[in-house]
């Protein structure tokens, strides 16, 4: 099964590390993975996004023209990507920053107040991890323990950071 996910948001929201996180976790589980950051002349301080493809087989294209999952961490990302998601796909919305109504009825929508939860946890910068937790649970692409293991290897021995991120992740995970 080939599953493609797009993570999108502002430059500072940590969407690239969410993608890397997923890729890392999938690799640990022995799957085929591609991770494709997008950037361009237009992204000076604007939105950023990345695409992760996970599969048991070889991956033909790292690009996702109709992804299975989209994580929209802010309003512009929602606007840009909501029509690309494939029927039956899941759209994750950071409801702390996004108010918009979604018109499509053929997709599943998960609203996560990522920023407010992160603030409540006392680490406002880990809103992305809150979302990552919810995404891990719902998408079921990789196990949450792989995500945590990936996190640990990415953050090497920054114990404090690992702890904070793990907490945020589990808060999101337990939300659904």
């Amino acid at each position: 099964m080939l599953i493609k996910t797009i993570f999108a948001g502002f430059g500072g929201q940590g969407v690239m590390s969410m993608g890397l996180n997923l890729a890392q976790a999938a690799m640990l589980e022995g799957k085929n993975v591609t991770y494709l950051p997008s950037y361009g002349a237009e992204v000076r301080g604007g939105t950023a996004n990345c695409t992760v493809a996970v599969s048991d087989e070889e991956i033909a294209s790292p690009v996702a023209s109709s992804p299975d999952f989209i994580i929209a961490m802010n309003q512009p990302s929602l606007v840009r990507f909501q029509n690309q998601i494939q029927s039956g796909g899941v759209l994750f919305i950071n409801s702390s920053l996004i108010e918009a109504e979604i018109s499509r009825g053929d997709i599943d929508i998960v609203r996560v107040p990522a920023n407010s939860i992160a603030e409540k946890l006392g680490s406002p910068r880990s809103a992305n991890m809150v979302m990552m937790g919810a995404f891990t649970k719902k998408s079921n692409i990789v196990s949450v323990s792989s995500v945590i293991e990936g996190l640990k290897s990415a953050l090497k021995d920054k114990q404090k950071l690992i702890a904070i991120n793990e907490k945020a992740l589990m808060a999101g995970y337990d939300l659904l």
Binding site: A41, E42, R44, G45, G46
Partner: protein, 251 residues
């Protein structure tokens, strides 16, 4: 009440793609004001570079054309020679003008081409992700000097304006900055003098503008504006470097 400050007429009504706090857009604004004030909108042709300002033509409401990296001075030369009535400026980054475009810059100056180079020195390659520029300061960390620029290996920051000033065909050269109201005003005045030198058919003019790049300097916008005063001007002192236009400063 009357409106005392509004968007320049020649600045198109589109949001800039630059990062918050970036100096490029400040220069764009100053230039479009000036082009209007000097009544050059009808006959000016601008050559923006590959670089963060590659889309400058989206903002300037004047004739403009893309150029190959570093070749602005050659392109402008071709324009001016073929169409001397035009007022021609290049808009170039430090990578563009002082690295790959070194020869074109120096020789256009040497021929005394009646063109004006607007030279944005932000001490990095902004567009391509913050690599070392020829003007990167000693010890400055960039993506290609991850341990800081080591002058023994990578050389010293190059002072292009001082080099060009040595060249006889260059008639007006000034270094300014866009990091304070006063410096922004001086920048405008410098560009005015540079354009005037061209209008008066005197020779090559160049305005080097120290310009903040908060993104690649990894600073907040304000820090980056302050860093110019605190650090950058030590290496790149502001002021008129050469003026043989014979015009005295009336104001």
């Amino acid at each position: 009440m009357r409106k005392v400050y509004t968007r320049p007429r020649l600045l198109k009504r589109v949001p800039f793609h630059y990062c918050p706090g970036c100096g490029h857009s400040v220069v764009h604004r100053v230039m479009t004001e000036l082009i209007d004030e000097m009544n050059l909108g009808d006959r000016i042709i601008g050559i923006p570079p590959p670089g963060c300002s590659v889309f400058a033509y989206h903002y300037f409401d004047v004739d403009m054309a893309e150029s190959a990296h570093g070749r602005g001075a050659a392109v402008a030369t071709g324009i001016k020679r073929a169409f001397p009535e035009a007022i021609v400026f290049t808009y170039q980054g430090d990578g563009d003008l002082a690295a790959i475009g070194t020869a074109e810059t120096i020789h256009a100056a040497n021929r005394g081409e009646r063109i004006t180079a607007i030279f944005i020195n932000n001490a990095v390659y902004g567009m391509t992700g913050g690599q070392m520029a020829p003007t990167t300061l000693s010890d400055q960390v960039t993506t290609t000097t991850p341990y800081g620029r080591d002058t023994k290996i990578e050389g010293y920051p190059i002072r292009m304006s001082e080099i060009v000033a040595l060249i006889r065909g260059a008639v007006y050269i000034e270094r300014t900055a866009v990091n304070s109201p006063a410096n922004i005003r001086k920048t405008k005045k410098a560009i005015r003098k540079a354009f005037q030198a061209q209008i008066d058919d005197l020779g090559f003019s160049l305005v080097e503008i120290l310009s903040p790049c908060p993104t690649n300097w990894r600073m907040t916008p304000l820090e980056s504006w302050q860093w110019i005063d605190k650090v950058m001007t030590k290496e790149f002192p502001l002021g008129v470097i050469k003026d043989i236009t014979g015009k005295n400063d009336a104001d």
